[in-house]
């Protein structure tokens, strides 16, 4: 009996905790601050807002259906429970009426939730995520990514615009790209599966050993952003992160020129084992 009481009171405390926390949060910080602190970082790529709105759509639809289900569960509980002079009603839900009701709800849920989200998501994939610019598109910025335990090796073309040449800029855990040009990745791995994750760009793509995967984004904001590995890849997975520098149009050419000059200074023509560029995959 005592235990029951304590259980009940603990449950009540928990029920109270959420609104109390919300109240505290709302007095301590404005809604914008809460979003800034706990929400996702604002999208920094051209297609980022598409995926954010898909995310909001899914959250809203699920939120609404959660509320509907909650109400539908609560109403019979309150309406049909045992009262003085009234026995609780118990029903298997096998009547024709109930079956029809279930079928209609299923169809509605499928059309409103699944079909809607599927159509939107397929559109986003086709028009954005899978819409990788062809390799001969003028102005694209190609990047070869070689993942390893536990680092990202990046290769960008340098001033000559060609990959696999001595002036290629090769970096570890750091990638510098221009704003406003599509950045196209070819990714692979030396050892185990890794996953290139640029949260601010809303881009995530696996890097698999023995296969070349393709991905792309176009930065809409300049600044420094995170590069993460999103696939548990061994002990130091948690350290496998880097920085993405998006440079404004005005700064990029000068940066690229210096980077290429230093790459040439570091180039050792006889060190064949250090080569790792591959034929570009579309």
């Amino acid at each position: 009996m005592n235990r029951l009481v304590s259980l009940v009171s603990r449950a009540r405390v928990r029920w109270l905790a959420t609104p109390a926390a919300l109240l505290l949060a709302s007095t301590a910080a404005s809604a914008q601050e809460v979003v800034d602190r706990w929400g996702p970082t604002p999208p920094a790529s051209t297609y980022g807002p598409r995926f954010d709105s898909l995310f909001s759509l899914i959250t809203t639809l699920i939120g609404i259906s959660f509320l509907i289900v909650l109400v539908m569960l609560l109403v019979p509980c309150l309406r049909d429970n045992a009262k003085k002079g009234k026995k609780a009603h118990f029903d298997h839900g096998t009547s024709l009426h109930d079956k029809r009701f279930t079928a209609v709800v299923s169809v509605v849920v499928f059309i409103v939730l699944d079909a809607w989200v599927l159509v939107r998501a397929m559109g986003d994939l086709r028009e954005a995520y899978w819409n990788v610019p062809a390799p001969d598109t003028p102005g694209i910025f190609k990047v070869e990514v070689l993942a390893q335990q536990w680092a990202w090796n990046f290769r960008t073309p340098g001033v000559d615009g060609e990959l696999g040449t001595p002036d290629d800029v090769i970096t570890i855990n750091e990638l510098t790209v221009p704003i406003g040009r599509p950045v196209v990745f070819n990714l692979t791995s030396k050892d185990v599966i890794h996953s290139l994750f640029l949260p601010d760009m809303r881009l995530k793509r696996d890097a698999n050993p023995g296969a070349i995967n393709v991905a792309w984004f176009e930065a809409a904001k300049s600044g420094d952003f995170d590069i993460l590995c999103a696939e548990l890849c061994g002990y130091a997975h948690y350290q496998m992160h880097g920085k993405l520098h998006v440079l404004p149009e005005a700064d990029f050419p000068a940066w690229e020129k210096d980077a290429s000059a230093l790459a040439l200074a570091a180039y050792d023509a006889n060190d064949t084992e250090a080569r790792w560029a591959w034929d570009w995959k579309e």
Binding site: D191, A265, E273
Partner: protein
């Protein structure tokens, strides 16, 4: 009840995919005697072998150099559990009249210490027996954390080390770059622990969050890989902690240190390898001709570093080259203190001790400590002002190139 499907799945996996089975699992390998040759897998090169194919057991104890005889007294005093001071006797004897081995008046209670005298070098060195169990523990941790890069056999060519520059260290050579103990010396355990805990910036050699005990075990194992003639098995070798450059003489005058550092940096000709960071005209003013380089004969383009070819750091038999860092562009490897802040002391120590095998000389002894400190401040200043700041760097470079 749920156990049965699981078992079935496991059995099926073992049958179709021998790769899933543990080594030595006869049923999974599934070959009969007649077909053994056909079925046996080809011998893989070490860098493509899987870690579970390695036997981690080390069978033999190793005698490893701990320190020079000079510092033995300090060591012994610090470890009373192990060493007992036998006072007042020239040749102490035990109850049965046997002479007890003492070193500097200390008796080793554990039997794990050995002093070796080398008549030619007129040197005595202090060796310690590291047990096979400890080496096995070290090997286990090594395979788990380090082998993907440093290789299953410690040869610096693990699966993830392919095409990687700088290459991970080959532990069978017994040479180290950033332990700051001087180019001729071997690093002490503590110097290695510090290095592995801090990692090397700009490379995949990260700060390793292993316990001190794990690290010490791994380090004993790494030491045991060194060759007899140049590593921790050699009486001639000298084990040292980080180079001593004294107290910071510039604590109250950081700007003075940076200004002095600029002069020393350019006067001794660091720009023979690294870039110069003042205009050629200013270099001509600074160079006295006594700092190590001749007045007037400088490299052509001082805004670019000059590659050092044929270093001792080999990959598959090829001697790799190293580009000296441009401090305004590249990240330096070992410039941070334990708190992670860029530190003039750490940079000064690197400069004082040199970087073995990279051509970067040891400057301690060829200039006063005060100047080494000044260089530490100057390099830190360069990094803080220009590294990762494209606009500031572009302005400096255009000044150095005379406006181009």
């Amino acid at each position: 009840m749920t156990a049965r499907p699981l078992l079935l799945v496991t059995a099926a996996l073992a049958l179709v995919a021998p790769g899933f089975a543990t080594p030595g699992d006869e049923t999974a390998a599934g070959h009969d005697a007649g077909n053994a040759a056909e079925h046996s897998e080809p011998e893989l090169p070490p860098h493509s072998r899987a870690p579970h194919q390695v036997d981690v057991t080390v069978h033999d104890d190793a005698w490893l150099l701990v320190n020079d005889y000079d510092t033995f007294g300090e060591l012994a005093e610090a470890d009373p559990e192990r060493f007992e001071f036998v006072e007042g006797l020239l040749e102490p004897k035990d109850e049965s009249g046997e002479v007890i081995d003492t070193y500097d008046g200390y008796r080793d209670k554990t039997g794990r210490v050995e002093l070796r005298y080398d008549p030619e070098a007129e040197d005595v060195a202090y060796f310690e027996r590291v047990s096979a169990e400890r080496l096995t523990r070290g090997h286990e941790n090594y395979i788990q954390y380090c082998a993907s890069c440093h290789g299953l056999e410690g040869d610096g060519y693990g699966r993830s080390a392919q095409h990687l520059r700088p290459p991970p260290r080959d532990f069978r050579v017994g040479k180290f770059k950033f332990t700051k103990v001087g180019v001729e010396n071997l690093p002490s355990d503590q110097a290695l622990v510090d290095l592995v805990k801090k990692g090397l910036d700009g490379t995949p050699m990260y700060p390793w969050a292993l316990t001190e005990g794990q690290l010490l075990d791994v380090i004993q194992y790494i030491k045991s890989l060194s060759p007899p003639e140049s590593g921790w098995r050699d009486v001639y070798a000298v084990v040292k902690g980080p180079v001593d450059i004294g107290e910071d003489p510039w604590t109250n005058d950081v700007q003075g240190a940076v200004a002095r550092g600029e002069i020393v940096y350019h006067n001794v000709g660091c720009f023979n390898c690294h870039p110069g960071y003042v205009t050629p005209a200013r270099i001509d003013e600074i160079v006295t001709g006594e700092g190590g380089i001749a007045k007037g004969s400088y490299r052509e383009d001082l805004t670019l570093p000059k590659i050092v070819p044929n270093t001792m750091y080999q990959v598959q038999g090829y001697k790799t080259s190293i580009l000296p860092p441009d401090f305004t562009w590249h990240s330096i490897r070992a410039g941070r203190d334990r708190q992670g802040n860029l530190s003039a002391l750490e940079i000064a120590r690197t400069v004082g001790s040199g970087i073995a095998g990279s051509g970067m000389p040891q400057w301690k002894g060829s200039m006063p400590d005060k100047d080494i400190w000044a260089i530490g401040y100057y390099v830190r200043h360069l990094i803080e002002t220009y590294h990762g700041k494209p606009q500031a760097r572009a302005a400096l470079m255009s000044e150095l190139r005379g406006g181009n």
